[in-house]
C-alpha cells in the first residue's frame, strides 16, 4: 500500500514539475510547414522540379521502361504478368460498367438536365483536367466530387463514392478521354498548400505496420510482396477507376486508397476527405505528361 502511494505521488510530482517547466502538451493537430512566404514565388516551377525528380527516380530504377509505359502499373515492369493482363484486356471486364456509365451519364435528372450540363465540353474528353484546385472554394475538386456536386446542384441525392453507379460514370468519362494528356496546374499559394499536404501524406508512415505510400510504391516498387509486384507510384491515377479482379468490380481511386490504408492497418479516411483529395492531387501532378488510360483492369 505504501509503495503504491509513493508511486502515485512520484508520478504526479513528475507530471506537475514537467508541466510547470514547459506548457507544451500533446497537440491535436499536425503543424503544416509554411512552404513559402512571398507571393512572387513560381509555384508551378517548384512543382515541376518535384515532377522531374520523381520521374528521374523511376527512370533510374527501371532503366528499360519508357515513361509512357508507367500508366500500366505493375504490368509496365513485369513481362510475365503483362501477358496475362494483355489477354484480359482483349475482353476487358470494365466494358459493361462503361456502357452502364454512359446510360447513367445520359439519363436526365428529375429537372430535365443532365451531367453534360455541369461539365465543360458536355463532359466529354475532360478527364485529364481532374483533379484541379478550385481557387473559389479553396479546395481540390476530383472528378468524383464534381459528379456528386452536379447531382446535388440538380436536386439529386449524391451517390456512393467507392463502387457502383458513380464509379461507372467516372469510367465512362475516363473512357471518352483516353490518350488525353494530364497537365494539372499548381498556380497559387493555396493550390501549393494542398499539393504539399498531399505530398506529406504520401511520404508519411502510418498504421500498425508503419508504411508510407512511398515505402511500397516508390522506394521498393517493383519488388515482390508475397506474389504481388508493387506498382510504381508514377502513373497510379491515370488508369482510374480500376476493375480489380479481387474486388470483382470497378472501384474509384478513393476505394483503392482506403484498401491500401487497411493493408497497413491504418484506419481508412472517409471517401473524398480533404487528405485523400490532396493525395490524389499530388499523385496526379506527379503523373503529369502521361495519358488517361482509365478505366483499367488490375489483378
Amino acid at each position: 500500500m505504501k509503495t503504491k502511494i509513493t508511486w502515485c505521488l512520484a508520478i504526479i510530482s513528475i507530471m506537475i514539475l514537467s508541466a510547470c517547466s514547459d506548457s507544451e502538451t500533446l497537440k491535436g493537430d499536425t503543424e503544416v510547414q509554411p512552404a513559402v512566404q512571398a507571393s512572387t514565388v513560381n509555384y508551378q516551377q517548384k512543382v515541376n522540379q518535384d515532377v522531374k525528380r520523381f520521374r528521374e527516380f523511376f527512370a533510374s530504377k527501371f532503366p528499360n521502361i519508357e515513361l509512357e509505359e508507367f500508366v500500366n502499373g505493375a504490368y509496365a515492369i513485369d513481362a510475365a504478368t503483362r501477358e496475362q493482363w494483355l489477354e484480359i484486356e482483349e475482353f476487358p471486364p470494365y466494358e459493361i460498367p462503361v456502357e452502364e456509365g454512359q446510360e447513367f451519364f445520359e439519363a436526365p435528372f428529375a429537372n430535365g438536365k443532365t451531367y453534360a450540363d455541369c461539365f465543360e465540353n458536355g463532359g466529354i474528353g475532360i478527364r485529364q483536367n481532374f483533379p484541379y484546385f478550385d481557387e473559389k472554394t479553396n479546395q481540390v475538386i476530383t472528378l468524383e466530387l464534381a459528379i456528386n456536386q452536379c447531382r446535388e446542384a440538380n436536386g439529386e441525392q449524391p451517390l456512393d463514392y467507392g463502387q457502383g453507379e458513380l464509379a461507372s460514370i467516372s469510367a465512362y468519362m475516363a473512357n471518352e478521354s483516353r490518350d488525353n494528356v494530364f497537365d494539372i496546374k499548381v498556380n497559387s499559394e493555396a493550390a501549393y498548400k494542398a499539393y504539399m499536404a498531399g505530398k506529406q501524406f504520401f511520404y508519411s508512415k502510418r498504421g500498425q505496420l508503419n508504411f508510407a505510400c512511398a515505402d511500397c510504391h516508390l522506394k521498393i516498387s517493383g519488388s515482390l510482396l508475397r506474389a504481388d509486384i508493387l506498382s510504381p507510384a508514377i502513373g497510379h491515377p491515370t488508369g482510374m477507376p480500376v476493375y480489380r479482379s479481387n474486388w470483382g468490380e470497378l472501384g474509384t481511386i478513393g476505394h483503392r486508397y482506403r484498401e491500401c490504408n487497411k493493408n497497413v492497418r491504418a484506419e481508412p479516411l472517409d471517401y473524398q476527405s480533404e487528405s485523400y483529395r490532396n493525395l490524389e492531387f499530388y499523385q496526379t501532378v506527379m503523373s503529369n505528361g502521361l495519358v488517361v488510360n482509365g478505366p483499367s483492369s488490375r489483378k
Binding site: W7, C8, I11, D22, R53, Q208, R265, A266
Partner: protein, 96 residues
C-alpha cells in the same frame, strides 16, 4: 522529442496503480482514439480492441478489459508518435 516524453509519461501515469480501473482505461482509450483519428493516424486495430474491452467488462472480466483497454491506449500513443515523427521527417522518403 518532448511530445514523445509526454506520451510515455502519460502512459506511465495511466498504467500506474492509481488508475487500475477498466472503465477509466476504456474512457481514456476512446478519448485518445478520437484525438489520433483527428490527426489521421488511427490504427485500424484500435477500435476493435476497445469493443473487445467493453464486452469483457460487460461480461465481468475486469482484468481482461483493463488489459485490452491498455493495449488500445498504447496503440493510440504510437499513433501520436507516428504523427509527430511524420510531421518532422516525412521528407526523408523523397527521391533525392
Amino acid at each position: 522529442m518532448k511530445k514523445v516524453f509526454y506520451a510515455i509519461l502519460f502512459s506511465l501515469f495511466f498504467s500506474s496503480p492509481c488508475f487500475a480501473n477498466a472503465q477509466q482505461s476504456i474512457e481514456q482509450a476512446e478519448k485518445n482514439l478520437e484525438k489520433v483519428a483527428k490527426l489521421e493516424f488511427e490504427w485500424s486495430t484500435t477500435a476493435p480492441l476497445i469493443q473487445k474491452a467493453k464486452k469483457a467488462l460487460a461480461d465481468g472480466n475486469e482484468k481482461i478489459a483493463e488489459a485490452l483497454a491498455k493495449e488500445a491506449i498504447a496503440q493510440t500513443e504510437y499513433g501520436f508518435i507516428q504523427a509527430e515523427y511524420a510531421s518532422k521527417n516525412w521528407q526523408e522518403g523523397e527521391p533525392k
